[in-house]
Amino acid sequence: MASFLKSAASAGSAAYDSFRRLPGRKFEPAETDQLVLDLQAALTEDRVRNDSAQRALMSHDASVFDGGNAGPVCYPETTDEVVAIMKIAERHDRAVVPRGAGTGLAGGAIPLGDAPVVIAVTKMNRVLEIDEDNGIAWVEPGVINLDLTNHLKPHGYHFAPDPSSQQVCTIGGNVANNSGGPHCLAYGVTNAHIMALEVVSPAGDVLQLGGLDPEPLGLDLRGVFVGSEGTLGVTTKVAVKLTRNRPGVRTLLLSFSSVRDAANTVSGVIAAGVVPAAMEVMDARITEAVENYVHAGYPTDAAAVLLAEVDGLESGVDIDADQIRAIGLANNATDVRLAADDTERALLWKGRKTAFGAIAQIAPDYYLHDTVVPRSALADVLEEVYAIADRNDLLIMNVFHAGDGNLHPLIIFDGRDPGVLDRVHQAGAEIITASLDAGGVLSGEHGIGVEKQKFMSRMFTDDDLDHQNRVRQAFDPVCRANPGKVMPMGHSCADIQQLRAVPRDVWG
């Protein structure tokens, strides 16, 4: 184990070297070339931007990776405009990179290589139709996740996937990353909530994938497109499933004197046949940071807190809530609190969902990981995660979707400390290895992006990866869409020029 860990760690670290923190790459002042003129002719001048500021911004997302290289930035408003962009890109042999709100943490929206055209879908943000008879709503990809749920509320529905970034992330981004969120424990991830998609293929064809019927004709290409991180085309319309709002909701906050007790409670609840809507654990450090921000009454003296929510009919949720309380107490819970009303519930969830941002109070940089392990391995892997942090002299916090075994170890650091980045990446690689050794997977919801490509071969054989690559080839034989993502080097569409170091002083 020890030697394997070591080799894994060093391989991981090397994998990051081509990405991390390159000296600030800058663009030359915008040149108006034929590509830009063609794009402007197809859209409007003001919705095709080629200035250095715009391209600098579009070269980043919410991940730590630096060194993207955005080309012209397009803000289409219609499917036809996306088709036009795709065809113009083809004519100029330029790649395209779709982008929603830019909240991805794996670098999936970072344009790589030869200044790809960025397709920002933020202006395609209409809820087109609520079709209650078919149990769906047609929406454009730039609709914000929480806006959609708020929009559906008067009709008695919501969109079930609720990633922590739901107040800002877009449905298009959810589709690209097969987003999860706390409540996918009971409701399933995005893929289970997408009935149909309209996408523009890398060749500029408009494809209808899936359908409103339960078994659409042919292969489940919609299922394959969801979670493909923008590498199979650009989503232009989405039929999302409407989930009925549950009349009864109970939210419990359980405190523990050890993270292991919290993890055991989670396993115990599932083993008892209760499937809560959500089960989230935060350790002491993150709880303190969160409490400083939201003042929701999170206990700052507990080693871990478990936020558990059950929903359903009013009568049944009390049974489930009582059962969770009993299992918690049997696992040494020091306190069990039931949210008194919607306001208290909302405050508790606000704390959970803003946890990642709240740590800037402690140190200016963070690296958020995302692996999944079997629930029964949660406690052991967490202990290993803390040990990894100690070994690498780093501060680590844990906040995770415990019900799904989805870990989000958060390494916090000050990037200005010399050598700290090496330790951060070393620890990250060790966490990934520990998760995979426990029978887990590389990513639960953030995706592979540019972050975890190099780790793909730890989970999959060459044959496995080859077959994944065939999916890519069937949709995008020429590697037009978001090249350099997901598949590791050695597979087609991955071998593009990786983030080059461009001289620092180009901005003059």
């Binding site: 600098a56 911004l57 920002a120 933020t122 806006d147 941002g357 200016p364 901005w507």
Partner: protein, 384 residues
């Protein structure tokens, strides 16, 4: 070039993007360069990486409404408002922003007489139909206004500049309500003509500081200063940060939004029949996001109207933004459209807004607005 920004403040942003939906300009444009995250990134590019101040970078900075709706949304506590004010101050000093005519336009604010005369003139011109609609001025600017008279010295009522000229009615209503609650009121009038908020927004920090110092010298110590304009109140509560002195901090500590103060001092207000109205509360940004005392508006209004309704846009800015609606009419109009749609969904009879800028801006789109103090005064006196 340096923007004079504090390195730790600038670094406190982790680029998570949670601010984006709370930014009115991002909401209507979908453009990252018109978002708080984008603007901070560009501040870093300029200050840390030597990026040039291109037209687009300047555009990014000057398009900010400075509503500070991003601040409560930010889990990292990035002091965005101060970063933007400092950026504008630096750029104004270098004559890169806030052109001369804008500085000139702000001059009369500290000369109430001139402003009153100007308003009178505008009201005449308005009646001729020559004032462009896009300026978003109220439909009928007052031609003549009754003077304000002191009734005691329990509290100051800050009367300010634009508001005193355009909406003295609000001061009068506020004064009557405070008096009805059992307190004597001294209107500040010429004692403290201008708070400096608009100057601060424009990056004219020097002028703001001298206005602040002037006001602090002019008002007697220890007396609470009530402000019925959210923007002014926010600026005056920031004197402590602006001047960095104990005296300024003590001054800021006795500045209260009028609703905030009344919520704790309304025990003796008479009980009357509530007005038969469904009233939507529109929270001025500088009340909600900066002062964060917007809940007080509900507390003081609740006994006096039949029904209070909340808007469903989570306090997103209306686009008024001090002088913003005049400087950026197009963006301000789009932002206002969003707000008006939200108001329409709430189907109120009236919209209560505790900031003159917001009221005027919304009135420009035909929204019937009223100051919370005018509503209470109406309920108490039976006349509007």
């Amino acid at each position: 070039m340096t923007l004079g920004l504090d390195a730790d403040d600038l670094n406190s942003c982790v680029q998570c993007g949670l601010c984006l939906p709370h930014c009115p300009t991002f909401r209507v444009t979908g453009d990252e360069s018109m978002s708080p995250r984008g603007r901070i990134k560009l501040m870093r590019e300029v200050q840390d990486e030597g990026a040039p101040l291109t037209a687009e970078v300047l555009r990014s900075f000057e398009s900010c409404v400075q509503c500070r709706g991003c601040e409560p949304a930010c889990p990292s506590g990035v002091p965005y408002g101060h970063l933007m004010e400092q950026t504008r101050e630096t750029l104004a000093d270098q004559k890169k922003m806030a052109p001369g005519w804008q500085r000139l336009a702000l001059k009369p604010l500290k000369h109430p007489a001139a402003l009153q005369a100007g308003t009178k003139a505008l009201s005449i011109i308005q009646k001729t139909g020559l004032v462009p609609k896009r300026l978003g001025l109220p439909d009928d600017l007052p031609f003549r206004q009754e003077p304000l008279v002191a009734s005691g010295d329990d509290v100051y009522l800050f009367t300010g500049c634009v508001m005193d000229a355009f909406q003295r009615d609000v001061h009068q209503a506020g004064q009557r309500v405070i008096e009805a609650a059992g307190f004597g009121v001294t209107p500040t009038g010429d004692l403290a003509p201008c708070c400096g908020a608009l100057q601060a927004h424009a990056g004219l920090a020097g002028e703001t500081r001298s206005l602040a110092e002037h006001m602090m010298r002019s008002l007697a110590p220890d007396t609470p200063i009530l402000v019925d304009s959210a923007g002014c109140g926010a600026a005056m509560k920031d004197y402590g940060h602006l001047l960095g002195t104990d005296e300024a901090r003590a001054f800021s500590a006795r500045v209260f939004d009028i609703q905030e103060w009344l919520a704790d001092n309304m025990a003796d207000l008479p009980t009357v029949e509530p007005l038969d109205l469904r009233v939507a509360v529109q929270d001025p940004c500088h009340l909600r996001h900066v002062q964060r005392v917007h809940l007080a508006t509900r507390v003081v209004l609740a006994p006096y109207v039949r029904e209070l309704v909340e808007l469903d846009d989570e306090g997103l800015c209306c686009g008024a933004g001090g002088a913003y609606s005049v400087l950026e009419p197009e963006l301000a109009g789009q932002i206002r459209d969003r707000k008006v749609a939200s108001i329409d969904r709430a189907t109120p009879d009236l919209v209560a807004s505790a900031n003159p800028g917001c009221s005027m801006h919304l009135a420009g789109a035909g929204v019937p607005t009223i100051h919370p103090m005018e509503l209470i005064d109406w309920a108490l006196t039976g006349t509007r």
